[in-house]
Subunit: 311 residues, 2 copies
């Protein structure tokens, strides 16, 4: 039986995940809730964390390493962005300590690309990247990290060199719920498997004509009015179109066809992006995003000696 020595938390905009880990990084217990930034702003970050740790029987001195939106300006404690290009050690070493807490609680900083021509920010993905051992080596790797705000990242010789964000996931969400497309999509679940044909057909449109997205979006509406496109197919079409347009433009910017692409994703996202990248003829290696973020948090916790003391 292993002892719990630390807790790790990925605190995103809408999701909160907490793990208790042993000295060797093995996960002993996990919790997943929807108490992300948006809930935590009203409920309080400290009390959410404390209530879960108490319920899991954790000691009052158990240290906690956190990444994600908890470190945003509107989060728990601002963990100022590390400017890119940035080495992973420097990023993890910047984890700021929450003051006035009995236990040691630290939050990993995000990364900012201050470049006036291409300003961009990330919070959370830097920790996933820090958890991928292969990225510490020499050489160049392009990483695709799907999500609400998809990131494409160039890692060069162990350094987070540059990155860019596509609002793909959020576009899917706001368009399917708040635009006229809601009449076409209704309550249809996103990306059901029987909609493969629609996903692939519209993904090809997005890949071929990424500049025409704003027009192709309305074509989804017209297709349901004139050609009885079903809600399930309309949902798959929207997803395919947006992901296809992202892949088409990102591959060009990152010259992603040149070598193997690293796809860091889980579940449905891994499946959809895998199909889109395959359609684009890009060779892909996939890593589970959940594993990556935990490994990155483990690295950060080890960096601050959190994995050494027994609780």
């Amino acid at each position: 039986v292993r002892d719990t020595v630390a807790a790790l938390a990925d605190w995103g905009t809408t999701a909160f995940r907490l793990w208790l880990v042993a000295a060797d990084g093995l996960v002993l217990e996990e919790r997943r809730t929807d108490e992300g930034l948006l809930s935590a702003q009203s409920l309080g970050f400290a009390s959410i964390l404390q209530s879960h740790l108490a319920a899991m029987g954790a000691s009052e001195r158990l240290p906690v390493m956190i990444c994600g939106m908890a470190g945003a300006r509107q989060g728990w404690l601002e963990a100022p962005y590390v400017p890119s290009p940035a080495g992973f050690e420097a990023i993890l070493a910047g984890a700021v300590r929450v003051p006035d807490a009995l236990r040691e609680i630290r939050i990993v900083p995000g990364v900012a690309q201050g470049d006036a021509a291409a300003p961009d920010v990330m919070r959370g993905e830097e920790t996933q990247l820090a958890g991928i051992a292969n990225l510490r080596r020499e050489g160049r790797t392009i990483v695709c990290m799907p999500g609400t705000h998809s990131k494409w990242v160039e890692v060069r010789d162990g350094t987070l060199a540059s990155f860019r964000t596509w609002m793909t996931g959020e576009l899917f969400s706001v368009l399917s719920r708040h635009s006229i497309l809601r009449h076409s999509i209704g309550e249809a679940p996103a990306g059901a498997s029987e909609t493969d044909v629609a996903f692939l057909a519209w993904c090809e449109e997005g890949l071929a004509h990424p500049a025409e997205t704003a027009a192709l979006l309305f074509r989804i509406r017209a297709s349901s009015l004139l050609h009885d496109l079903s809600p399930e197919h309309a949902s798959a079409a929207l997803s395919g179109l947006l992901i296809g347009a992202e892949v088409a433009t990102a591959r060009r910017q990152f010259d992603a066809g040149a070598g193997e692409l690293l796809l860091v994703a889980s579940g449905r996202m891994a499946d959809l992006y895998g199909r889109a990248l395959s359609l684009a003829g890009i060779a892909v290696r996939t890593l589970d995003a959940d594993v990556a973020v935990r490994d990155g948090l483990t690295q950060a916790a080890r960096r601050f000696g959190m994995l050494e003391a027994a609780s």
Copy 2:
């Protein structure tokens, strides 16, 4: 003093406009409310129209010609789409009569492009086009009609030949209110004049890189986080980016640089699109959209003899 001989109504998704006109088409009285389709579905189309006509002192036999979403499936009475290519006479002649009304009430049909490869629909714009005398002549004209769902239309030899819809206005609305960009834009009014610089700078981005819209959207967010982009400038940036991307792709599809473009728009839309088209180097002639729709409704009313009888 002229007698009122008919009423004309433009019944859109969110707006309702009603005019009383004389036999020569001169407007004698006007009303504008927000009782569009969305309100009318609950309040009732007949009672909204009747209450305004009564308040304006119109006779119970005064005929009414309507265009727009009142003719949609979810509207007052479905006025089935006329398939394109379509002549303007055929469109106006398709105005369906609302049954069981004491007065003659007719609704102009929309136009559908059934083509499986490029399905599209319009309701309201066909009436504006029918009101533009120049479009009845021989030759080819490209028409840009900005709005919630912007239409670009090719009119050839007096026939509505083909068209395409960009969801530009709706993208602005849902992104500024429901996406992460709401934190950057806040309650800033859209398109204030002091934001000319931001509008033009981001419009150039959209014109140059229309395929990268989903990434440039996030750059607006990053610019407010890292470079203190103000809410007014963020709003102007979003507007410029989306309009620029629309113009870049539409001009290519419609070969719009080849000749003069007809811009049918009013107020702020006319101003913003005028600047974007000028930035793209496209020569433009502008017609007021309000005048066009009234002229189109007048044509339709005359077609059914509504302008002949005194009320």
